[in-house]
């Protein structure tokens, strides 16, 4: 049971961390709970569907179907995180002000919410199909103790959800005027890390050049299959022995997002920028 718990937890951890960041980044946006729950539900159904067709996917594209699919999922998530960052750059300051003014009340942000719900779907889909297949394997085995193992699996999912919640609570403890700066930085790193992973996957199939098979080797310091390594892998795309293309894709994405955010922040828009604060009467 414990073994099952650990296996499932490791798979769920990555999606859990991403959901935690998404929750913090959408703090105060109205109806976001519904959207994010929808994103999770979409991911879980997609994962079940994907697990059912795992064999077919595996054989697709001359055996590279799984890799192409994973890379595509990652790149869609990168694009959606880009949409969110752009949206935040043009509305974020106002949003933080509105939130201070209204408490944590209604702040609209439909476009960003759609993007973030999709990010959640992609994260759950990617890790979820592996969990579904694993649990399916247990459920169909005649193995004694299958019930206990499934319980372990459920506990693993709950533990992953707990990580999500803890990260979210930790982040929203940050004072409101800094919160979105922090979540934006985390989202940019997340997106860059995902782009790097996608590039590494594509390089693994030979579709992209590796540009150096191993740019560095930090496996003696932090292995990426340790729990901390896995968490960093999820958050910033950490790899203990990355190919050059992974680092290049990371840097290009980070630079592109910074540029996009700057351009969106400068774009003329209707704003209700508040006048300079008047000196309070004493």
């Amino acid at each position: 049971m414990l073994a099952t718990l650990i296996i499932v937890f490791r798979e769920v951890l990555e999606a859990g961390l991403i959901i935690g960041i998404v929750l913090a980044a959408t703090e105060g946006v109205s109806h976001r709970g519904r959207w994010i729950a929808g994103g999770i539900a979409g991911g879980v159904s997609g994962a079940a569907l994907l697990a059912a067709f795992a064999g077919a996917l595996s054989n697709a594209f001359s055996g590279s179907g799984q890799e192409l699919f994973n890379a595509a999922i990652l790149l869609i998530a990168v694009a959606m995180l880009g949409v969110h960052i752009t949206w935040m750059a043009s509305h974020g300051r106002q949003m933080a002000q509105d939130m201070k003014a209204m408490g944590r009340a209604v702040v609209a942000g439909d476009r960003s919410l759609t993007a973030m719900a999709l990010v959640v779907t992609m994260a759950v889909l990617r890790e979820g199909s592996e969990v579904v297949l694993f649990l399916f394997g247990i459920a169909t085995s005649t193995h004694e103790g299958a019930a206990a193992m499934l319980m372990g699996g459920a506990a693993g999912v709950l533990a992953g959800a707990a990580v999500s919640w803890l990260l979210y609570r930790g982040l929203v403890a940050i004072p409101m005027k800094h919160l979105f700066k922090v979540t934006n930085a985390m989202i940019a790193l997340l997106a860059a890390g995902m782009a790097g992973q996608a590039a590494a996957i594509l390089a693994g199939t030979g579709m992209l050049p590796t540009l150096g098979d191993e740019l560095w080797d930090t496996s003696a310091i932090l292995r990426d299959d340790s729990i901390v390594g896995r968490a960093l892998h999820a958050l910033i795309g950490y790899s203990d022995r990355p190919p050059g293309i992974q680092v290049l894709a990371f840097l290009i994405t980070l630079a592109a997002l910074a540029l996009l955010s700057k351009m969106a922040g400068q774009a003329p828009r209707v704003s209700h920028r508040q006048p300079a604060p008047a000196t309070h009467a004493r």
Binding site: A3, G55, S58, G63, E130, G137, T140, G206
Partner: protein, 107 residues
């Protein structure tokens, strides 16, 4: 044209990817056969995994940077390397205590 062919020939020499060695593994009763394999160091190679069990497996190696699901009765191929001389671990991530093995890269 001739130059083009020469160029491609040169590339395949440098890459060494065209004629990658393939090592075949099978999974049965959540054990890899063979479980310990040896490959030449500093060149790419492929590992072909066939799952003879009723349960899905996930061939995974952080050392080799590969991760791929193998459905029951299915076969997958992953490309790994070039490796520095040394020993590298792999597992079926769904049965990591039973199904594990090593790749040893030798010069």
């Amino acid at each position: 044209m001739a130059r083009g062919i020469l160029f491609i020939a040169a590339l395949s020499l440098v890459g060494g990817g065209a004629a990658a060695d393939t090592v075949e593994l099978s999974l049965k009763g959540h054990k890899f056969t063979p479980s310990d394999i040896t490959v030449p160091a500093n060149q790419k190679f492929q590992i072909k995994v066939t799952n003879g069990d009723e349960a899905p497996a996930e061939f995974e190696s952080h050392d080799l940077k590969v991760e791929k699901i193998v459905v029951p009765g299915g076969t997958i191929t992953v490309t790994a390397g070039p490796l520095k001389p040394g020993t590298y671990q792999f597992v079926d991530d769904y049965h990591p205590d039973d199904a594990k093995g090593t790749v040893t890269a030798k010069e």
